[in-house]
Symmetry: none
Subunit: 414 residues, 2 copies
DNA sequence: GGGGGATGTTCGGAAATCCTGACAGCCTTC
DNA sequence: GAAGGCTGTCAGGATTTCCGAACATCCCCC
């Protein structure tokens, strides 16, 4: 149960901490042991890997575990917390449980019981949400939208550049909907013979159609839908509400098609009830890294010998790349990189053989202060942009005081 | 808040039971005192009256309160359980809380604290009285006022901030009045076309009007009533007492409208015979909790999977919130929170993703600290890689001291 | 087995950062 | 033209961060 799970252990006592640490390691968990509240905040809020559970002592040198929990519970959605303490009482236990702690164990305890209860949380912990777009804020927003769209039977339109995984999102939407058992029918107008498939889906003169009873019709590359098919669909929608769920996907080229009349505007608006915009990878580098990790894990296992990991510089290079081909490009780059890699790590040169300059950055690294400032600067600008230049509002978004933000803006020259 | 509530008290100790029983009676609760598990099962599962809460001892002559709880928890919906015990320990408390008990108090306890915690639970449960404003003293006062207003046919004026549910109160008043069958006609002057609707309600030159025979006219956003309509209404009132019941609603802006003459003072006083002031949510946090509970119960049932409950921290945060948007804001927050929640409880971060009072949803940004940490983490990894894992060397590259780098690595879990 | 160098860790003080609070302008909006 | 909301600015104090110093280890190489 615990194998491969990421667990943060917050415990200052050497003996106790050591024994828990050892045991969890033995069980195959990846344990991050911190001894102070301040450390724990960072480890839980900005983890290198999603945290599956937190095992937390109450009495700590620089504060209490309770403080830690309350502080975090205001700002982020938390992994399950298991409190472990020798000094607590019923009141504390009840208070914490009511506040949302997952479990509470008194010292001394049986290690086996402890492990069992921890496994329970980890198993239940839905911190491993089923991501199908990515882990960035933008991606989870899209996922939420898809989930909601799946609840109502309204035509949905997925809009995004090439390779952003519109097809996969459509399939996910179908899979989340109530009548997922009813079949998923894709018509890709970028392919030959799309019209034939489409014809079988639409009601004919006698009103019979393949999808009369439900299911999902996915119209891919909608902008290239033939005019004649558009007319038939519009007419079918007009005559009688379709039983099937309609999902369509298109890219930037739809603007053009609408402008020059190649696509009927009235039909477009009928299909665009729920709009699901998928941002390109260049706007969400975290997802590029996430997707790379997934691909790496999947494909590296087949490799002989498997690589030990991914160079941090590769991540850096991916973050900087603009991804004109989005997910499709990423996929092919990673797979090719895995084949080409010679050392033990996946290096930038493996993934970007076409960009020799990424390999050469050996000498000097920007200092920590530099990148920190750069990151802050980017974020501040982003916040200011979303608030339309309102400083106070931006400060709230960034969770600093207005004065601090002002100071930083002075310092960074914004 | 216990007045009129039905509470089952399960306690075998005469002294303890008697004292609780007396006190609860004093508070106005209807208490059903049983001294055995067997009796309690019946009293709770097949009560003569819906039970609002159960106060339960653990050690009982024919079993334990824990058994009672587990036995009942198989059946459908349990009232909130508050356990009271002198012998229990942390383990028991945690076990019960995890199983869904609402609270757990150790003997001996302060009676006042006990009552407070019990009230909290009871507030959550649905009550016998048909509340439509809230459960706080202020809200029940408003409800009483509405009930009385329904008895007499005098113009009533509901005054309250945006989102305090003035429309709902008006409808409730209508529903409580004798001629509720006569129809309810709303004219919302904040909306387009209000004047047209208004015209059809007012007697014309021939003295005929839509509401000549009764019913209720509800003038919403009264302060924005056009001057011309004011004149017509004043005239109609002057000429002949209207058959219909008049309810109007306005907010703070009416003071302004009266001051600068945008609203006729004479008309205002004619409409303000029965004054129903609705206090804002910030002045009655109990109602915020109550409304949240109602919404939670209603919407959580549709959720998949349903949440187990609401974190005590969330209640606390709601209590502290000022609710600039009052009920409307609360509603949208709770509904969004239910969508966003990831764990098993509704946490503060779900309901208040934006810390302070921003009424509308705002795309949440990672905090400055988060991106700063993330940037540092990346750079540190990069440096460590280029130095081949040599910490001291990496520190030099990053231009920080070795100690600092070590600290950061601790904090970030590297 | 004994340096030498690197790391893991703690400590105390200096330096910075951040927050609260306050006040003055400078806009809108009544 | 008064009020209220927002920004620019500053001060003072509480925290946090950062650094240098200091040990104890640990490992490698001689």
């Amino acid at each position: 149960m615990l194998k491969g799970r990421h667990i943060v252990l917050v415990e200052d006592d050497e003996i106790m901490g050591g024994s828990i640490y050892q045991r969890l390691r033995l069980e195959g968990a990846v344990v991050h042991w911190v001894k102070q509240v301040a450390r724990a905040v960072g480890a839980i809020r900005t983890p290198g890997h999603p945290v599956d559970a937190v095992v937390c002592d109450i009495r700590l040198p620089d504060g209490s575990g309770e403080d830690l929990f309350f502080r975090l519970s205001d700002s982020v959605s938390l992994p399950p917390f298991l409190f472990v303490t020798g000094h607590g009482g019923v009141d504390q236990a009840v208070r914490l449980m009511r506040a949302g702690a997952a479990d509470y164990i008194q010292k001394p305890f049986e290690m086996s019981a402890f492990l069992q209860r921890l496994s329970l949380l980890v198993g239940a912990g839905s911190s491993e949400i089923d991501h199908f777009v990515g882990i960035s804020a933008a991606a989870t927003a899209v996922e939420d939208l898809v989930r909601r769209a799946a609840q109502v039977n309204q035509p949905a339109m997925i809009r995004g550049e090439h390779g952003t995984g519109k097809g996969r999102i459509a399939r996910a939407l179908h899979g989340l909907s109530a009548d997922r058992a009813q079949g998923f029918h894709e018509v890709d107008f970028a392919k030959q013979g799309a019209s034939l498939i489409f014809d079988r889906l639409m009601p004919d003169a006698e009103g019979t159609a393949l999808v009369g009873s439900g299911g999902t019709i996915f119209l891919n590359a909608l902008a290239r839908m033939p005019r004649e098919a558009q007319d038939r669909l519009a007419e079918a929608l007009e005559r009688d509400p379709l039983r099937a769920r309609l999902i369509s996907a298109c890219g930037r080229e739809m603007d053009q098609a609408l402008a020059d009349g190649a696509f009927r505007a009235d039909l477009f608006y009928k299909l665009d009830v729920i709009d699901i915009p998928v941002p390109p990878f260049r706007d969400r580098p975290d997802d590029a890294i996430w997707l790379m990790m997934r691909l790496f894990e999947a494909k590296n296992a087949d490799r002989d010998p498997p690589l030990a990991g991914i160079s941090a510089r590769t991540e850096e290079a991916m973050r900087a790349h603009v991804w004109p081909g989005n997910g499709r490009e990423l996929r092919s780059r990673v797979i090719r990189g895995l084949e080409m890699a010679r050392g033990t790590l996946l290096m930038p040169a493996d993934v970007f053989p076409d960009r020799p300059e990424v390999a050469e950055t050996r000498a000097e690294l920007p200092s920590l202060a530099t990148v920190r400032d750069a990151a802050e600067r980017r974020q501040i600008l982003l916040a200011l942009e979303t608030t339309g230049g309102q400083v106070g509002e931006a400060a709230r978004l960034l969770q600093v005081s207005r004065t601090t933000l002002w100071e930083k803006m002075q310092k960074l020259g914004i």
